[in-house]
C-alpha cells in the first residue's frame, strides 16, 4: 500500500482484532466488577462487608482504601476497582497500538502513538 511498510509480522486485520479484544476485555472486566459491587451493595450496603467487618468510614471517592476494601469484600471496593479498570482501558488501548504499529512495520505510527502515550501518561502523572 505504501513505501514505508516494512516486514509485516501482524496483518492489519490481526492488529484490529487485538485492539478490539483489549477494549472488550477491559469493558467486560469493568462491567463485571461494577455489577458484582452493585449486587453486593443490595445485600450489605455500599460501605458494608460480606465478611461482616464494620462499615468503612472512608468516602467512596477515596481510592486509598481499595486494597483493604477488596480483602474485606466491600461492595464499594468492587465498584472502585471496576471504575479504575474502565479508566485504564483507553490507556491500555494506546499502549497496545504502539506494539501493533511496530509489528505492522509502520515506524511513523510507532512514533506518533508513543508521543500520544507519553502525553497521556504525563497528564495523568502531572496531577499527582
Amino acid at each position: 500500500m505504501s513505501g514505508n511498510a516494512r516486514r509485516e509480522r501482524l496483518t492489519p486485520d490481526q492488529f484490529r482484532a487485538v485492539v478490539s479484544s483489549v477494549l472488550r476485555t477491559g469493558v467486560v472486566t469493568a462491567a463485571a466488577l461494577t455489577t458484582v459491587g452493585f449486587a453486593l451493595s443490595l445485600l450489605v450496603g455500599w460501605n458494608g462487608s460480606l465478611l461482616g467487618a464494620a462499615p468503612t468510614a472512608s468516602a467512596p471517592t477515596d481510592f486509598s482504601q481499595l486494597g483493604p476494601g477488596l480483602l474485606a469484600l466491600r461492595p464499594v471496593a468492587f465498584a472502585q476497582a471496576g471504575l479504575l479498570v474502565l479508566l485504564a482501558t483507553p490507556v491500555l488501548r494506546v499502549a497496545t497500538s504502539v506494539a501493533g504499529f511496530w509489528l505492522e512495520g509502520d515506524r511513523l505510527y510507532v512514533a506518533i502513538t508513543l508521543a500520544v502515550l507519553a502525553v497521556l501518561l504525563g497528564s495523568i502523572f502531572l496531577v499527582h
Binding site: S2, L23, A30, A79, V94, S97, Y109, I124
Partner: protein, 280 residues
C-alpha cells in the same frame, strides 16, 4: 440512591450510550442534566460521572468499531497527537482564562457548525478525491465496508493541516473546560477533512476515550468521581454504546447526520447557556 433512582439513571444512561455511540459524542449532554436537574446531584459529581460516561461510550463502542473497520485507527492516532497536546496546554491555561467567554465562543462555533451540517444533511458520501501528498505519507486514506450500501467505500482525508489545527483546538477546549468535545471532533473530521460521516463518528468515538482518560485523573484526584453514583451510569452507558455500535454500520450516512444534527444543536445551546451562567 434508592434502587428506583438507580434504575432510572441506568435506563437514561443506556440512551446516552446509544446516542453517544451513533453521534460520536460522549453522552454528557444527557448525563449531566439528568443527574443535576432530576436527581439533585452536585454538579461536581455529575461532571465526574459524565467523564466516566465518555470513557464508557468510547471503549464500549470502539471494540466493535475497530473490528468492523468503521474506526480509522491511523486518523485517530494522528489526530490524538493534536487533541492530547491541546488538552495539556488547555489544562495549564485553565486558571488564567475566562471560562464564561470560552463557553460563549464554543457555543457559537458549535451552532455555526450546525448550520453547515444542515447544508450537508442530504449528503451520503463526500466527493471522492485522490489523497494529497501529506495524506498519502501519513496513510490517512483507506476504505470501510458499508453494510448499508453493500460495498467497500474508499476515502482520503482532505485538508490535513486544517484538521490537525481544529483537533488541537478541540483538545484545548477539552482541557480548558473539562468537556469531551466529541461534537467538535466530528465536525473537524466530517466538515474539514471530509471523511465519510460514519467513519468520522466512529473515529471520534475512538478518540474521546483517550481525551477523557487524560483528564479523568484530575477528577479522580479531586474526589469528583463517586463509584457508587457512577455504577449505574457506567453499566447503562456501556450497554447503550455496545447496542449503538451494532447499529451504526447498518445506517446510511445521511441518517447518522440526522442523529448528529440535533445533538450538535443541543450541545451548542447548552454550551452557550453555560457561558451566560444558566444551567449545568
Amino acid at each position: 440512591m434508592t434502587l428506583g433512582a438507580d434504575g432510572a439513571i441506568f435506563a437514561i444512561s443506556i440512551l446516552a450510550g446509544l446516542i453517544g455511540a451513533l453521534a460520536g459524542v460522549g453522552g454528557g449532554i444527557l448525563i449531566v442534566p439528568t443527574l443535576t436537574l432530576l436527581f439533585g446531584i452536585d454538579i461536581r459529581l455529575a461532571i465526574g460521572a459524565s467523564i466516566v460516561s465518555v470513557i464508557a461510550t468510547s471503549s464500549g463502542a470502539a471494540a466493535a468499531y475497530v473490528r468492523d473497520r468503521m474506526t480509522d485507527m491511523r486518523v485517530g492516532m494522528f489526530l490524538e497527537l493534536a487533541t492530547t497536546t491541546g488538552a495539556v496546554v488547555g489544562a495549564l491555561l485553565a486558571a488564567i482564562v475566562a471560562q464564561a467567554f470560552l463557553y460563549i465562543l464554543l457555543g457559537l462555533v458549535l451552532l455555526g457548525s450546525a448550520l453547515m451540517q444542515v447544508l450537508r444533511l442530504g449528503e451520503e458520501m463526500p466527493p471522492e478525491v485522490e489523497p494529497s501528498g501529506l495524506a498519502a505519507r501519513l496513510r490517512l486514506a483507506s476504505s470501510y465496508p458499508d453494510a448499508r450500501l453493500g460495498r467497500e467505500v474508499p476515502y482520503a482525508a482532505r485538508r490535513v493541516p486544517l484538521g490537525f489545527v481544529l483537533m488541537w483546538g478541540a483538545g484545548l477546549v477539552s482541557g480548558l473546560l473539562g468537556i469531551g468535545s466529541g461534537a467538535l471532533k466530528v465536525v473537524a473530521m466530517d466538515g474539514a477533512m471530509r471523511l465519510p460521516m460514519k467513519v468520522s463518528s466512529a473515529t471520534s468515538n475512538f478518540m474521546i476515550g483517550v481525551t477523557a482518560a487524560a483528564s479523568a485523573g484530575i477528577y479522580l484526584g479531586r474526589g469528583d468521581v463517586d463509584p457508587t453514583l457512577v455504577a449505574p451510569v457506567a453499566l447503562g452507558v456501556l450497554a447503550g454504546a455496545m447496542l449503538g455500535a451494532r447499529l451504526l454500520p447498518r445506517l446510511a450516512n445521511r441518517q447518522v447526520r440526522w442523529i448528529f444534527l440535533p445533538v450538535l444543536v443541543v450541545i451548542g445551546i447548552q454550551t452557550l447557556l453555560r457561558g451566560f451562567g444558566v444551567g449545568a
